[in-house]
Amino acid sequence: MIKKIRIRGYRIHRDLTIYPNPKLNLIVGGNESGKSTLIEAIVLALTGRINGRSAAEELNPYWFNAADVADFIVKRAASELTRLPEIDIEIFLDNVPELQELCGAHNSNLPTEACPGVRIRCLPNPDYLAELQAWATAPTPLLPVEYYCVEWSTFADVRLTMRPRALTTAVIDARTVRSSGGVDYHLRQILGSQLEPQERASISLQYRQAKAALSESAFKTVNQRIGQLHAALHAQPIALAMDQTARTSWEESVAPHVAGVPFTMSGQGQQSAIKIALAMNRHAGHAKYVTIEEPENHLSHTSLATLLDRMGALASDDQQLFITTHSSSVLNRLGIEALQFLGPAAPVKLDELSTGIVGYFKKLPGFDTLRLVLADKIVLVEGPSDEIIFERVFVDLFGKRPMACGIDVVSMRGLSLARGLELCHRLGKKVAATRDNDGIDPTELRRPLAPWLAAGQREVFIGEVAHGHTLEPQMIHHCGEAQLRTILGIADTANLETWMTRQKTEAALRIASSSEAVTAPAYMLQAAKFIHG
């Protein structure tokens, strides 16, 4: 089990430390926050490979953190002696007896500490020191990777050439499906791991025998004919036979079929679902680590629900999952406690949430939890009409929409405000929450929310009972009935409060798009000012 991941100098991650959950990790973050890079780094350190090819082959200047390289150039220009940029990815594993072969003190922990682990580094190659020094006199943003070497080793300082058995890893990427090249490297790995060594040997043998039989039968007459050709040097006879060399082994000719259709011809959603099921399937050689990128891709809502249920059923204690996602369904269904949020600051995890709240969101796959996770600042409102009115109030005040200020207005749509606030509290977000008083004293309403509130950070704004029990009477109170009738454009015969309450959203939309001045309810104004800061 991976206890800690430290990535230094690799692409966007200048120095990132993650403490993964033992079973499930849902990696969430905005675009360009380095989710895929994190997965790439894990796979790189565990398997020494990237997209099926060795790290040394794939090494290129863009792997190095741009800030590291820029820093180096600036320091060298100022004649400061500084180290050449390096990449260092460390995977710290559980200190258990089975992993002791990988145990040693060659890691970045201070003070020196021994634990099992693997590490991949891209370092200046000592054989090219002279060339590197020459380059460093006038460095460019593109590092001369030809003079670098890739060192993949255990914490015991043993160089690795093959992935250690204890680190079987399955890599699933649902974002893109490769061209018609057939079964790709990662799928071949996953398929290979399904077979026992004896099964493998038996298939290999029978495949070779079948090919030999073909050479003996179908090719026989052909060979009798072309045997007369004397095409070869020294007039030896030539014959056709099935190629039995290693590059034509059975693995190259095998593909999984779904209902008789080759895997690669089936739908992209189907393909990733099968890969996930194969990788998570419990069998002898099953992968200890599984990475899945954006499982929601190419899947309809119902297919995704099926897949997520299956993943939940297959999840086991001795398999650690790393899943990137942009989908709140995935997050809610698999459990928000597994969240690993890659934000602009240090990564945030939610592993200490009460089981109550985890279960709550599991039952609400439709709720857009990810908006809470990803937004800088949040306004929690009760429903769509509050959302629309708040936007109008905000624009009137600041001349900009909330989104433009990094503020996401999220409608709870009847969900518990306490649960929403608890989540925001754990995420450390700045929140303004608004709600109707429903005829109850605001002080009374605030009391149960108190554990999740903090002055200046998370506050609740509630209108006074005297100004109306819900949004609509509050609007009437603050705008005045005459002004509001103009804004809404309704007949004088209609009862204003009844009309507004019956057609909440319509009323809100008319207010929002009106060119007339709107006087906002006091609590909404306060909320807008609070959140804008």
Partner: protein, 364 residues
Amino acid sequence: MAKRVTLAVAGSRKTQGIVEHCAGLPTARRVLALTYTQKNQQELQDRLARHAGDHLNIEVLGWFTFLLRHFAKPFLPFMFPGEKVRGFNFEGMPYRMSKGKARFLDKGGAVYRSELGRLAFELITASKGALIRRLEGIYDEILIDEVQDLSAYDWEILDALLSSNIAIWMVGDIRQAVLATNGRSSKNKKYAYADAINWFRTREKKGLVAISESTVTWRCHPQIAAFSDLIFDASWGFPGTVSKNETVTGHDGVFLIRGEHVAAYVSAYSPQSLRHSAASAKQLDLAFMNFKVAKGATFARVLIAPTSPITDFIRSGASMEPLAASSFYVSVTRAEQSVAIVLDDPGDSKLPYWTPPVSTGHRR
């Protein structure tokens, strides 16, 4: 976990015992077999392949490789943060007064052979238990052949292994302790060479290890076995050797020969000639093998050019220094049927002289 040592006599099939032990273990058991010499390593590997080929979890390593791979390399940063072991310096030695890193590693980062034991030992403590825990995770059982050849800090390392939860079985012949892994260190001099017996006896008293004796030789003729028992005097407390060699050739046992008869003896019996070193027995022009080199080998017959301690021992029974006694013991016990010692003046020795048979056709 069981900790035991078997003290064996020469020719008692120690290596075969290890091979048979391995063949009898469950195949899943993770076993490390350690030996000291290269020759022994190869021998053990070959025999294991033949008799326990299906045991894929048995690994054979030399003692130095063991210390490098499982002690020095993984844990060096505990003593020298950020440093790596970049090789093994077999020949070189640090300056006598060297401190810190320079004590253990040369300029290229290679560990000095002479300091490897000490480095390994110090890392056991420096790693705060991680080192032994790692070994416990990797091996269920460690077998150590030729345990008598360990020296200096190696004994401290054995102490650490004895308090681990790994099963340990050590096999050795204390009387053959002619090789030492560190020729210079003053550490544990008191256990050096044949004194190693005392090391085991003190551990046995503390209940850390069980000693068993294996006294049957399949190689040496009873007379040779009886003679070899005399080399270490009774104060050592070694048990007597029992011979199961029942072959009779007509020339069996231990003999003295005079220098003038050496040529005739060699042509009659073709013995393997043994000497202490290239500097000794220069007056004899024979295809000699040095005592140390002969270790582990078996010959039908040997001819020994004695050193002066050997000469004194034969003439008067004067007891020998442990090292001298060891090397003489090794040379005597190479032989299956006969040992001939070149000596003109027998002193008080009761050993029979071999003389060439009188050729009746030419003399009268």
